[in-house]
């Protein structure tokens, strides 16, 4: 049994390596901060801070998978966040009009970046660097007359700061966020049922499945993880709207990339664009879709950030793109194209944000923080390359 587990780990070391790294980092910080790191309050804040980078990392994963990069996303997020603030505060639009409007602008922004890349074969580095400059200029343009624009719309502010509502106290579990707990339990049940169904289907086809005991361990592990996180969150304010948004984005993108025809086409284009083209896949169309989705997620990131700060600033979005790219690489995306998972990038984002949060709690200076994060980035990529070579 232990041997089985060892084998499983060895064969999937690349896949589990990231989770193990995250786990180790969390354990270390829990000790060095006397448990403050793992406290409900800190974990909740950590997840909320990860939000706007996490959604960018998801989009960036696909961009890197198809062998491109998008540097414009940070200031696009900043600019669109400012547009959202202006629309709310100056034009007096309803939040329910502003959000779809800004998301739509994001898609257009992404498609504009994709245009020279897909049509003329301009390197995306150059095209998106131009976008980086242009959006930075636009951000300054719309904020320079007023400086920081405060946002007061309660619904909009709640996206980045609010928590899902709870049912009133019922006598038991006082002080615990019951809806969060309930959602966690539903999530676990959903996961377990889904896995069991999947296993049964595979057995019907006579495919290989994990041995029963391994399967049980896997279910137990995931259930414990989800349960643990929910319990910790339920001890504070419960699940925030940011976490809901990120989970929704991850769920949709995970589904699209792993299960759909579109997802396959994206990975095929990344794996070998010529072969994909000859297989009847339009590389151009995929490029537009991926950059369009990147734009969409950039605007979502801008909304989350503006909402969290409750204001749009002249420097919003600075270096977001590099944080997102780093998260994707830490999460196992390959620069050679065709390899990388959405979930991996989310874990990558969590690893990077955990480092920041943990070191902040320890009082480590900002200078050292950058150095440590750089070291972790390069270590993660070395690990990834080394294990990939081993798998050959």
């Amino acid at each position: 049994m232990f041997k089985n587990l060892q084998n499983l780990l060895r064969q999937n070391i690349r896949e589990y390596g990231m989770y193990i790294a995250l786990f180790v980092i969390m354990v270390i910080f829990t000790f060095t901060t006397n448990g403050i790191f793992i406290s409900s309050r800190n974990l909740s804040n950590l997840l909320n801070q990860t939000g706007y980078i996490a959604v960018l990392a998801v989009g960036m994963t696909l961009v890197i998978v198809i062998r491109h990069v998008d540097l414009s996303v940070g200031f696009l997020a900043g600019f669109l966040g400012a547009i959202a603030a202006i629309a709310l505060e100056k034009w007096g639009w309803s939040v329910y009009a502003v959000v779809p409007f800004v998301l739509g602008l994001g898609v257009i922004g992404g498609l504009i970046t994709a245009l020279p890349v897909a049509r003329l074969g301009i390197p995306s580095f150059v095209a998106s660097l131009a976008g980086w400059l242009i959006y930075r200029g636009l951000l300054l343009l719309v904020t320079e007359s007023t400086g920081t624009i405060s946002v007061t719309d309660p619904v909009f502010v709640a996206i980045g700061n609010g928590y899902i509502p709870d049912i009133p106290e019922i006598g038991i579990l006082n002080g615990i966020h019951k809806v969060t707990l309930l959602l966690g339990i539903i999530g676990i049940i959903f996961y377990v049922v889904n896995e069991i169904n999947d296993r049964r289907k595979k057995q019907n086809y006579n495919f290989d499945v994990l041995p029963m005991n391994m399967f049980a361990i896997k279910l137990l592990f995931v259930a414990a993880l989800v349960g643990g996180v929910t319990w910790v969150l339920a001890g504070y304010n419960g699940i925030s709207w940011t976490v809901v948004v990120v989970l929704a984005v991850v769920a949709i993108y995970h589904f699209v990339t792993t299960r759909t025809v579109l997802g396959r086409h994206i990975y095929a284009v990344g794996g070998n664009p010529e072969a994909a083209e000859l297989s009847g896949i339009s590389v151009k169309r995929i490029t537009y879709i991926v950059f369009g989705s990147m734009g969409l997620l950039s605007s979502l990131s801008g909304i989350l950030f503006t909402s969290r700060l409750q204001s749009a600033t002249t420097t919003a979005g600075t270096l977001f793109e590099l944080d997102a790219i780093a998260a994707a690489y830490v999460g196992g995306v390959s620069a050679a194209g065709g390899v990388g998972k959405v979930i991996g990038s989310i874990i990558g984002a969590l690893v990077m944000l955990s480092l920041t949060s943990g070191m902040n709690l320890m009082g480590v200076g900002i200078a050292y923080q950058y150095i440590v994060r750089g070291a972790v980035l390069v270590a993660a990529v070395i690990f990834d390359v080394a294990t990939r070579r081993g798998a050959r």
Binding site: Y205, T260, G263, R264, A268, N272, A275, S279, G280, G338
Partner: protein, 506 residues
Amino acid sequence: MSIPILEMRSISKTFPGVKALSDVSFQVARGEIHCLVGENGAGKSTLMKVLSGVYPHGDYSGDILFDGAVQVFKGISDSQRVGIAIIYQELALVPEMMVYENIFLGKEIRNGIVVNWNETIKRASEMLKKVGLDVNPAEKVRNLGVGKQQLVEIAKALSRDVKLLILDEPTAALNETDSENLLNLLKGLRNEGATCILITHKLKEVMAVADSVKGFRGGRTVCTLDAKKGEVSEQAMIKHMVGREIDNIYPPRKHITPGEVTLEVKNWNAYSPELGRQVLKDVAFNVRKGEIVGFAGLMGSGRTEVALSIFGNPAGYDLSGDLMIKGQKKELRGPEDAIKHGLAYVSEDRKGNGLILIQDVKQNVCLANLLEIAKRGVVDGNAEVKVANGYKSSLNIKTPTVEQKVVNLSGGNQQKVSLAKWLFVKPDVLILDEPTRGIDVGAKYEIYTIINRLAQEGMSILLISSELPEVLGMSDRVYIVASGRIAGELPIAEATQEKIMHLATN
């Protein structure tokens, strides 16, 4: 007898799950051309990688003696230092650099810290003369044809005082003239005392140049044949390679009366804006249901361009002329559209633009027709495995599971995956571009059998091939392509190698 220049003693090498070499011993005498023959995956290339240090000492068991001394190679640079040079099928030249820069790349002639270009150019010219290549040393490598690039590569090796030159399928990408030149060069070098190891699938070449032949099968050596003793013959080699005698390289075929015309092209012209020249001129041909039509011609004659221009024109040529599918005039907007109209194109370059090497067998097989196994855009993963397993058994793809990455398969099996991918599209017209390039005799026979079966089932097949015996052995009708035109059409009964060559070279 003098000591052999190379002796390898009981070399064994294991990959996870596969024993690639078991207890292989072999010797190469000074000044001979030693040919290695065997099916793909028989262990020839693996042995050469052990020899050249790609698999460093410790990765394998056994001993290498070179020039009478035991060698421990930790990397390619170690083997280069003692005078072993290996030239792979995929050339290792920098296209944007000039010929002389490439020849001395990594071993620049210098005065102190600066490169002595004059001396470099002079020495490069000498090297080019030695390999019989008449090009300006200041030409960019990208402007040379594959055959000439190969010669540059050999010149590069010779400039480094090689004692042993290893060539891995050097003629796979060459046309007949270039191949012949190359083989003559090897013979010339041998007469001057050089030693060569030549890996090739073309037994005729072995017959032409080999002093001795080593046969491989399943990671072991199965025979050593000596040319001086008259042991080298095609029959003998095939027998040892496959472990059985093959009387007929081409499977027998029931010639059925072909049905209606499925694909017809008239007045077909293509201009390539990228190359700035006309690539196809006034091409006209047709193919019928259940018919195998051969496209013979030299490398670069425009055969692939014909195929690509029909198959949705991914290269972006300016086209004019008529393309008729089942009697109806069509304009195809891209490969996607071509597939919808029942065309399929199995590319000649399976690694370059045929397969996605980092993905597994099942993903490659299903790629061009994912909608078939998807419901509302969601791929049914189980159906995918089922489809792939179906082709795995019907085409006899040798892979442990369909989850195996394609990069790990041998050439012949990769080609079958490529074929499976296009069969899953269920085309009416199947265009095969060099379907048996670089694959071994056994796998070739299997692929020929599959092609015949498909034609019998009513598929129209366009077979592009540089190997004339293949065209003659398989086709019902042959078109000869030369400089972007159809130079002739011959029914199979009238076609001979001589006639085809005559048309192809005029």
